[in-house]
């Protein structure tokens, strides 16, 4: 019986490690940018540490089961009454505390890393892209380049990118596993996600947060390219694409799935992002803009229905 269990757990551990280390690399553990690298490193570190803990617990368990099972004991053996020892319990508390302190330091450090411009990219201006979701699409607005795309994203490699996320509907979560973890996009505020790609390539991006019937197909494609190629693409868009009008944008917001499309101009001009500070440092000026924001919002929403 114990053997069986040992086998099952052994196979389990072996499967995990082989799949994690060998085979095709898993998306999250195959980072293509500094943020995803930080996260993948944390993940691998914690996996090894946690594997150690599981093995220790398992070893103690198997040992006591083998040593103290009834069939190995003499018939008249009466187990002793043991209340508990302060020293043993102090060790049982102390070691986990040390592990938690160690992981806390790493966790806090990484928190500040992933919430800032990626390391090594601080010297350049980040590229700002507004990524907004609607049922069940993603709209990418490049305010500086003055273009907008639907369901696909072109980014220059080796440049920090600041995504401004919000939603025209349910809460969604913007996620490009190989570039870094996800963040929510919500309808009444803008969140910021810092990413960067350190090599060219094509990556999967999706909404990770359940948002209704079309959620499963709510994906987009990300292409990282050299800065020169990116500039060429921007120029090409300006030459070929049609301008995004508010009527066209309303049409795009209709629930459903769409393929890729490209426009000049962004929807930010006629349908600005809900950028206002919630709660913190509210002074009068901001308050005013808040109210304005809400008003424009209301109008939009009514015209939506």
């Amino acid at each position: 019986m114990k053997l069986k269990m040992k086998w099952i757990l052994l196979t389990m551990v072996i499967t995990i490690t082989t799949v994690l280390t060998a085979c095709e690399p898993l998306l999250v553990l195959d980072p293509k940018g500094p943020q995803a690298k930080t996260q993948a490193d944390d993940i691998m570190l914690s996996i090894w540490l946690m594997l150690g803990i599981v093995i220790v617990v398992l070893a103690i368990l198997v040992f006591v089961l083998l040593k103290y099972r009834a069939s190995k004991q003499p018939k008249d053996y009466e187990p002793p009454h043991i209340e508990g020892s302060p020293i043993v319990e102090a060790i049982c508390i102390g070691i986990p505390i040390l592990i938690v302190i160690f992981l806390s330091i790493i966790s806090v450090d990484s928190n500040y890393k992933v919430e800032a411009t990626p390391e090594g990219y601080e010297d350049q201006e980040p590229l700002i892209i507004y990524a907004s979701s609607s049922n069940w699409k993603w709209h990418f607005s490049y305010p500086e380049e003055n273009i907008e795309t639907v369901n696909y994203l072109y980014i220059p490699e080796d440049r920090a990118i600041e995504f401004k996320l919000y939603s025209y509907g349910p809460i969604t979560s913007f996620w490009i596993p190989q570039l870094g973890g996800q963040k929510y996009a919500m309808s009444d505020m803008v969140t910021t996600l810092h990413l960067a790609a350190d090599q060219p390539g094509e990556f999967m991006g999706r909404n990770a947060n359940f948002s209704g019937a079309g959620f499963a197909e709510n994906t987009f494609e990300v292409t990282a390219m050299t800065p020169v190629e990116f500039e060429e693409w921007v120029e090409e868009v300006h030459e070929t694409a049609s301008p995004l009008t508010s009527e066209k944008f309303e049409e795009l917001l209709e629930p459903g799935h769409l393929g890729r499309s490209t426009y000049t101009g962004t929807h930010l001009e006629f349908s600005p992002a809900p950028e206002h500070d919630h709660g913190s440092t509210d002074n009068n000026v901001e308050e005013d803009s808040d109210i304005e924001d809400h008003e424009t919002h209301d109008e939009e929403d009514h015209s939506n229905h």
Partner: protein
Amino acid sequence: MDFFDRFAVPHPSFLIYAAMVGIGLTMLAVVVGITYFKKWGYLWREWITTVDHKRIGIMYLLTALLMLFRGGVDAIMMRYQLAMPENTFLDSQHYNEVFTTHGVVMILFMAMPFIIFFFNFLVPLQIGARDVAFPRLNALSFWLFFMGMGLFNLSFIIGGSPDAGWTSYFPLAGNEFSTSVGTNYYMIAIQIAGIGTLMTGINFITTILKMRAPGMTLMKMPMFTWSAFIANVIIVFAFPVLTVLLAMGTMDRLFGTNFFTTDNGGMDMLWANLFWVWGHPEVYILILPAFGLYSEIIPTFARRNLYGYKSMVASMVVISILSFVVWAHHFFTMGQGPLTNSIFSITTMAIAIPTGVKIFNWLFTLWKGKIQFTTPMLYSILFIPLFTLGGVTGVMLAMSAADYQYHNTMFLVAHFHNVIIPGVVYAMLAGMTFYWPKIFGFMLNEKLGKWTAWLLTVGFVLAFIPMYITGLDGQARRMYTYSESTGFSLLNMVSFIGAAIMAIAFALLVYNIYYSIRYSPRNIGSDPWDARSLEWSTHTPVPEYNFAITPQVASTQAFWDSKKNGHELFKGDIEKIHMPNNSGLPFIMSCMFFVFGFAMVFSIWPVVIVSLIGILACLVYRSFEQDHGRYISVEEIKETETRLRGAKNEGR
């Protein structure tokens, strides 16, 4: 015609119609059966109106097993849908309904009644009481819970099931994006069941604080009672949040308020925050009693006292406090900034410390023991490594920067099933097997029981370990389909096979119950496991009044001491016993709640008003009712005692 249109399922399919017919026929068969065997009177007198904690407990158990079946069917359907890429077994809408109801049913209508069954059956027996502090309130708790459960399950065939996830995040769950009545069911059914649970919490805190046998100080309570006490304290603190939250959600959906809407100043994050302020303590409400059960079972079969009683209690207290300060770890990705995330990351990891203490204490309880591998013990031993695995992945998830990658993926799904199944479900099955002889007077078959435990474990490992891997490979949770090119198909197929094996294990459990009812010997005495705490010191079946003489307690394992160290439990003479009277009022009032809930779901206001008046009338009637209970005479007690002792002696 419009009026009736609302009652139709908005998105029907063959499966739903087949289920409707199936449910209809089953209900009909039950009604016909009861009438044919003339059992209505028996049902009313012995079960529906009962205030006996043991019978209420058994009704909780039956509900939990029924819901385990329902939630399990949901689970199999999901796993089958995902076993192959681009499967068309379920469409998006059905899949969304299925995972929503799976979550709600398993947490609120399976795990909750299962632990409340143990509260009900065990706590009064473990503390040497005759019943809970408020027996009639207890009946009301059960019936409210039952009606909430019934109302929720009704959504399946009338009006459509909720489809916004068990977390029901707004604005997705708001009127704008969830137009069917499904989410109304969610708000109102859970509300009604939740009120019942809140009353359970009040009831058991009072029972444990006020009704312990003489000599049983707080630090001499059996560990399960301790865990029940702390879980109920958490219930009383956490459930009011749920009540308020669901009321706000109901108002948003039915009365046009804007708490969580996308415009007019609504805040969708408010729902997520309040939901998890309740939701996180809720998982500890489930896991602490499970820990309590393991703490009863492991010492019994290691044949040793529980190692580190004091640190066990202390760790539960610490967990209960920490459980209220970690809720934001459910949405590290909401954009609250690195400082907030760091604080919640550390508090979350800190929970691993008291939990680790408990794991080590169980291991040290086995140390120098004389370990017997019975079915309950097998579950407990399998629990330790599997739960450790779930616990350490929890620590991984607590690292907030890395959580940006785990969040909303199958990795998370794997983690919480990895703690809930070996943690809660194994404990429930272990506890059920362990206490089955005390409840029903015969043992469950050991061989079948062990097969069930092993099959369940093999199935569990196959079903959930692959999810850790697909999660890291980018499979988001709650996707009803995926394309071949993602490469998820092989591991999802393995998951489905695992789920199927778990289903076989459940079938085996049911067969075991059937087999044991038919063939298990009945002359097993009152203490078949040679156990340690007070609940085993009374007769099997347990008489209505539990103990003819109130026991005197001097240690944490009073019954063991009475067997081995000559401690005298029952001193003095039999006296007449005061017991509460049965009452139909809780049932009637709960039925009105059911009508009220149904009318609210469909906004049928006249019925809402009438049922509310009915509920109020019940409250008023109860306030003026004079019911001082009744006495069981000394002769009657002596007669019962002789009869039960006789049964036991025959067995020996």
